[in-house]
């Protein structure tokens, strides 16, 4: 049976959660470990931490985050941002992270995906792909390009070709963010997501644009994503993970049910 995972994503800057988080009952709403533990209690299936500064001095901070999280959180967690080498990946995995997510460093040097996979296994290599639509081409079909630097820089690389290439190189999972949908709250780019799901054999995490619980359902049912990722709808207390699980179950999507 395929069960869809629900994954809250936390943006972290210098060891602190960036976007406002308004959870009840947290001593420190800026503490990523405490937030992750709260999501674990709510029934999250995994946690993703995105280190948005990822400066050189920040490496130790993010390794400490992995170390503390491994002591408090007993579901899988991924760390992305600033991973440029096998050594960067090793430090995070040894500290207790289950997966590392690579993005621009893989675009700059695709072999990095193979190197990390060879050393630690494909299961721990997530390739994060930020894709933006080029609109419909002459034949009427849509294409997407891979963007880096938070969606500001077009690499000119075709997103479909890229996901196939990284799957071949040893990616264990694709974290697919639509730069068109991200931040809009209008829902996932379902066409992009479905196209990528159909293009690769490995799991695809849909990301970018979630504003309602129905968007999560659409990502699972219409785009056939293996996991759905969201940030703000969970952080601001609009919905709990349990609400999301209930909506998915009610729509006929198999998920690990939340147990109170």
């Amino acid at each position: 049976m395929k069960t869809v995972r629900v994954i809250p994503c936390l943006d972290v800057d210098d060891g602190r959660v960036v976007k406002g988080v308004s959870f009840v009952g947290l001593r420190d709403a800026g503490d990523p470990v405490e937030l992750a533990a709260a999501y674990d209690r709510q029934g999250a299936d995994e946690i993703v931490f995105l280190d948005i500064t990822a400066s050189a001095h920040d490496r130790d901070t993010i390794i400490e985050l992995a170390r503390h999280t491994a002591e408090e959180v007993f579901i899988p967690f991924t760390i992305g941002g600033g991973i440029r080498s096998v050594d960067d990946a090793r430090a995070l995995l040894r500290a207790g992270a289950d997966k590392v997510s690579v993005n621009s460093a893989a675009v700059a040097r695709p072999e990095l995906v193979r190197e990390i996979a060879r050393e630690f296994g494909t299961q721990c290599v997530v390739v994060s792909v930020d894709a933006k639509s080029n609109g419909a081409g002459a034949d009427g079909s849509t294409t997407w390009n891979v963007y880096v630097k938070g969606g500001r820089e077009d690499t000119g690389i075709d997103a479909l070709g890229w996901v196939r290439q990284v799957a071949e190189l040893g990616a264990g999972e694709i974290l697919l963010t639509s730069m068109d949908a991200d931040g809009t709250k209008v829902g996932f780019d379902l066409e992009l997501t479905r196209t990528v799901v159909d293009a690769v054999e490995i799991p695809v995490v849909a990301s970018g644009g979630v504003g309602t619980l129905q968007h999560l359902v659409d990502g699972a049912l219409i785009a056939n994503a293996d996991a759905v990722l969201a940030a703000s709808i969970f952080h601001f207390g609009e919905h709990t993970i349990a609400d999301a699980k209930r909506a998915l179950l009610d729509a006929g999507v198999a998920v690990r049910p939340h147990v109170d």
Binding site: I75, D98, Q123, R256
Partner: protein
């Protein structure tokens, strides 16, 4: 030996995330040590062999760090032993993931690629279908507990050793038992409260075994 917090050796053979397994055992009251010291492993009341990644890489690393023999000795002694994920797969004779690389061979059978037509790896939570509810490792977990799996291969072994399977969508070996040699294809250390229960059950078996000796 400290009876309150039994010494559990978590074999550190230099692969990815081993720390989570150690933390999960500490959480339920074990004196869990990440170790490559054969003396400590010989003294331990229970032994855990975690594993992530490639079967061939893990076997090579286990041999390069000279931990295969201490692991085999621990199994031979009859002390409780738990293999996790690739740590489960390594107990078998061979794997399709690394033809020509022998496994430890303490469990009969070969580790095979998941059938065509499914998403590989299986990277998700899945429910246990328990075939043998009397298995002490699964006490309190016989009613379809959810566990976290991440794997593309799984052991193909005699039904007599299979305690639980998961549905993906054919039955996949999820838990095996041979005396006090247990193994799980999923990650109990990443399976929330259900995984915590399994760790508690393993520790209970370690304590019971200490009393016998």
């Amino acid at each position: 030996m400290n009876g309150d917090r039994p010494l559990v050796a978590v074999l550190d053979y230099g692969i990815g995330n081993l720390r989570s397994a150690q933390k999960a055992l500490e959480r339920v009251g074990a004196d869990a040590r990440l170790t490559a010291d054969p003396g400590l492993i010989a003294d331990a009341a229970g032994v855990v062999l975690p594993g992530v990644g490639h079967f061939g890489t893990c076997m090579d690393q286990l041999r390069a760090t000279a931990l295969e023999q201490p692991a085999l000795d621990a199994i031979e002694s009859g002390r409780p032993f738990l293999g996790i994920c690739v740590g489960m797969q390594m107990l078998f004779e061979a794997s399709e993931e690394a033809p020509g690389v022998p496994g430890m061979g303490v469990m009969p059978g070969t580790v095979r690629l998941l059938p065509d037509g499914v998403v590989r790896p299986q990277m998700q939570w899945n429910r246990l279908d328990v075939q043998r509810p009397a298995c002490p490792l699964l006490a309190g977990l016989t009613d379809g507990a959810w566990m976290y799996f991440v794997h593309s291969y799984a052991p193909d072994t005699d039904d007599g050793f299979v305690v639980a399977t998961c549905d993906y969508p054919t039955p996949i070996t999820a838990v095996t038992e041979r005396g006090r040699l247990w193994a799980t294809q999923f990650h109990p250390e990443k399976s929330g409260d259900a995984g915590k229960r399994l760790a508690q059950n393993f520790l209970a078996a370690v304590r019971a075994d200490q009393c016998r000796r």
